[in-house]
Every structure is written in structure tokens, then in C-alpha cells.
Amino acid sequence: MTRDKEPLTPREARNRNILISCMLLGGAIAATLVAEAHVTTRVVTTTIVKNGVTTTHVERSIDALGAFTGPVPPTFAIVLAAIWGLALPVISLLWYRTIDEHERAAYRDGAEVAAFAYMIGAPIWWILWRGGLVVPPDGALIFITFNFIYLGVWLWRKYH
């Protein structure tokens, strides 16, 4: 990303290409996940009997979040886990060797802040839940929040 029209250095171009590839891969995985997930359809049937007349009301609603938290075919789960566990570390290593020290420092700062947010936030949620005050901790939400903080700090440190 450049504010003016100057071309990217080779290192910046390699960095950008790896990140774009990761985003495309992530987007493809997310799209496939949505397509493969079993979206839960909630059906509520209400039957009212009044004066001998039976009235049935059926309400259907789709649990959209089920696309992200619902069950998926086992084979698909194994493939995704393999991609995440094998491809991601390799891509991360390649990327880490491409970036310069400034981005490395920004990336580490992002990790540090996100780790602190997790270490402070997750136990708070957990203990408040045990006290019956909040909903149970949601792993997916914690993971997404962690990554948003990570990304935000990383980008702020890199471009600010």
C-alpha cells in the first residue's frame, strides 16, 4: 500500500502477493464453508384449538449463524483442518521471511496486544459465566475478536 504513485519494492511486492494469496485462499475456504454447512431451519408449530376449530401456525426461520457454527461433513472438516494445520504454517514461514524488520515488529506488537486482550478478556467472560451473569464463552467469537485486535494493531503499527 503506497500513498503516492511510487512502485513497490520487490520485498513489498512479494509481501503483498503472499497476503493477497492468503486472503483469496481464506475467502475460498469461507465460501466453501458456507456452502457445505448445514444451515439450521427452525420450525415452530403452534396449534390452537378454539371452539372445536384447530388452527395450526407454522413459523420457519433460518439460523444464519449455523453456516459458521453448524455441523459440516467429516471429510470436509479433515481437509480444512489439514489446510489450516499444514499449509498455514508453511505460508506463514514464507511470509515471515519476506517481510522486513518494521513489519515484523508491527506483527509482533499485534500478537502481544491480542494476547493480552485474550488473557484478560477470556477469563473475565469465563468467570462471569460461572457466576451466572453472562452467556457461556463462545470459542469462535473469542477467536474472531482475537484476530480483529491482532490485525488492527498490526496495521496501525505498520501504517500509522
Binding site: 511510487e6 519494492t9 520485498r11 509481501n15 522486513d100 524488520e101 518494521h102 513489519e103 500509522h160
Partner: protein
């Protein structure tokens, strides 16, 4: 996080770059870093590592102390 801790070095990188009429991208190319890195060093938000400081020193043919200043003075001023 050096800048946040108030430990950022002062430097003459921007002046030296301007004297040679180099853009940040050109300097970045010569130092094999990103343009953001050059900008961060010039604005004091990032202190270069020792290897990068030496590359900067060799590029401008000047000692590191002539380019960077930690504002602590000479060795006799410490302690």
C-alpha cells in the same frame, strides 16, 4: 513499541535522503526494506536494528553516530 516507550532515536535520515534527492521508495529499495519502514524510521516510530543501522551507515558513508542520536551524550555522561 520503542516510540511508545519514549525510547525512539532521533536521526537525520530524511535530511540525508533529501540531499541525494531520493524518494522514500528509492531509499527503501537501496536498503532492502519497505517504504513503510523508511517512513517509520524517519518519523522516529521505529528504531532500526543493528544490521540495518550498519547498512544505512554504509549507504551514506557516514558513521552510525553521525546519523542517529540517542540524546544521551558521550560515554562520560552516563552514571
Amino acid at each position: 513499541m520503542a516510540a511508545l516507550a519514549g525510547l525512539a532515536l532521533k536521526n537525520r535520515l530524511k535530511v540525508l535522503r533529501a540531499e541525494r534527492d531520493w524518494s522514500q521508495a528509492e531509499l527503501a529499495l537501496r536498503l532492502d526494506v519497505s517504504r513503510q519502514a523508511v517512513n517509520a524510521i524517519e518519523t522516529g516510530k521505529h528504531d532500526p536494528s543493528l544490521p540495518l543501522a550498519f547498512r544505512i551507515s554504509r549507504l551514506f558513508a557516514m558513521p552510525i553516530e553521525a546519523i542517529f542520536d540517542d540524546a544521551f551524550g558521550g560515554p562520560n555522561d552516563q552514571g
